[in-house]
Symmetry: C2
Subunit: 345 residues, 2 copies
DNA sequence: TTTCTTTCCGTGTTCGATAACGAAACAAGT
DNA sequence: ACTTGTTTCGTTATCGAACACGGAAAGAAA
């Protein structure tokens, strides 16, 4: 049942374990005839290398470098998810080092990436938010042979060990469905953006695209969709929005980043929540509070713990267990409401 | 960084590894003074037992017995999820054996359980659908010291290593929310049951309870809720339902088991889908098709792969890594619509 | 003092894989 | 015959933990 060991192979083939080992590792210095004999016996006995013995001997310690931003709770959760997963594997020799970059500063990303590479880790987990720079880093990684996993958004043209993230466009499509549930001919929808803060974030564009695609697919009038800029001024709402509220016209709000709570709270203050459905992203604390208070209707979420697990697991599988990993791992589009909130983490 | 080893502890404490080992395993025969000294050094050096060495020496092979039904696609997915997870750990010596029982036959459950126990596995995964019988089995398992994980539904009074499943009542609560989304004063809702087939299934009752609780919590009239029995006759709809349809009255349908597709298809045939929202459970193939065709609006789901992983992982952690596992692991209440269907598995 | 228990602790082997090191056998060149 | 090189293979120590076994030391009983 369990598979033959090297020593048993050696006995059967009447050679020493050294010879068997040389054959199994293609280290040469073995006569062709005995090599064949050994391989045959190994195959017949269903030889599998004993991970425990191997790892013990090699005294493996796997250092993973994590290159992520950490400038809001969303990314903090991602970081924690990875740390969490890594700790699970700590007894198997896995450790992580975080290289946190500022996503509004290319130099920061580049320098952190190089720091990560110089620490010569066995694997890298990276969020390629700055596409062009990430691209050069990734080709670099390919050359020096460090496997890397991309999280959150993918990078066409690179061949990561795995990509783990959401289908952003589909998430926007889903958002449109939820906002328009029960409205056969579509409903007025306002997209709230923050182009300054999110200037480089391709993911948000994809989400918005998805929403628009839903309207198109259902033959809703494109005029139903408007985009407005979130005012930075504390508590103030976009002017266009106030026009609707002043006329008591119902309207739905789509906030493609994690800051739906800001809008929701402002609307609550002026008592206009009844007029709108609000959908946002990411189950951060402020959004959770708003869900609980009924100020936000839906949050689309991806479980950062699972994402972290998958990322670490992908590297673990590849590095320690030496097995294949699937290259595209799309995270579930979690729909979170007040009612399933408590089990969403 | 990596923890101290036994040998290093021995050197520091000026004793032999044997003594250190006796201390760490509480095997006695060590003077109190040296014991304290050793423990102090171990703690200071952050000693962690090397899983590789430990497992190598103990030459552990972990056989897990799985006691589940397999009479529909839902359970099939559960079985697959567990098999899948077990295969992940196969290189660590984990193997599984399935003991499939017929959930309408107590003797089948009992005999399979005994077969499982007689195979003397290191751990057991069980769905305690037949509560009373499962209870006696579990107390039995406690006595002979085989750790067990319960999936799907819990069993009060037993102390499983872990329970992994959904909060059924909360899922009904969530269902009510989704069905009534946009209806401020609540909406007519029909609960479709199949008391013959589901006679023993406590989970379904809890789901229905949850739905009713939502109506109560929102001060909706309890008269809005009705229960009907699903006609076994092919294609026929419950009479009460037809009354509503004949009058073109809108009504929502709550199907607490995995057979929402049956109802949905019958309603589609008579062309009355526009009159109702339909919510069901479990992402089995027929339900997936109905979601895709717009015949079902929502499916509440739990990821069977994740559930399988968690179950196997709980045993793995406890048996191999020797770490603690959390006793209640509630699965997420996944809301599945046509739009996030593709990433729900 | 001798003998016998306890109490305490060290030694040595084992698990399976890995790889450095060196031994044996043989051919070829001087 | 003697050196040198090449190919092929065996020996052995090592990783860290687990545990059986035996032995030393200290005290108790004779």
């Amino acid at each position: 049942m369990a598979g033959i060991t090297i020593k048993q192979i050696a006995e059967k083939a009447k050679v020493s374990v050294g010879t068997v080992d040389r054959v199994l590792h293609n280290r040469g210095e073995v006569a062709e005839a005995t090599k064949k004999r050994i391989l045959a016996i190994a195959a017949e006995g269903n030889y599998k290398t004993n991970v425990f013995a191997r790892s013990l001997k090699l005294n493996t310690s796997f250092k993973l470098a994590v290159i992520l931003p950490n400038d809001n709770e969303y990314w903090q959760m991602q970081n924690e998810g990875i740390l969490n997963a890594a700790e699970q594997y700590s007894s198997l020799g896995v450790s992580v080092e975080f290289f946190t970059f500022n996503r509004h500063d290319r130099n920061s990303f580049i320098s952190e990436s190089f720091k990560a590479m110089e620490s010569s880790p066995q694997g890298i987990i990276m969020a390629p938010l700055l596409h062009e720079d990430a691209l050069t880093i990734c080709t670099n990684l390919k050359e020096i042979g460090i496997p890397f996993v991309l999280v959150d958004s993918n990078l066409a043209g690179t061949k990561p060990l795995a990509f783990i993230g959401q289908d952003s466009q589909q998430s926007g499509f889903l958002a449109a469905k939820l906002l328009n549930f029960g409205h056969e001919n579509g409903h007025k929808c306002m997209i709230i953006r923050d182009t300054h803060f999110d200037s480089l974030n391709k993911t948000l564009d994809e989400r918005v695209d998805g929403l628009k695609k839903y309207y198109a697919a259902n033959k809703f009038s494109p005029d139903l969709i408007e985009e407005v800029e979130l005012k930075k001024t504390e508590g103030e709402l976009p002017a266009k929005l106030n026009v609707y509220f002043d006329n008591n016209e119902p309207i739905h709000l789509f906030v493609p980043n994690s800051r739906a709570h800001e809008i929701a709270k402002r609307i609550d203050i002026i008592g206009k929540k009844k007029l709108c459905r609000i959908l946002g992203y990411d189950l951060i604390k402020e959004n959770i509070d708003c869900l609980n208070d009924g100020l936000i209707d839906f949050i689309i979420h991806q479980n950062p713990k699972i994402q972290g697990s998958l990322a670490v697991e992908a590297l673990y599988k590849s590095l320690i267990l030496n097995t294949d990993v699937s290259q595209h791992q799309f995270m579930q589009l979690d729909i979170i409401t007040k009612e399933n909130l408590m089990y969403g983490l």
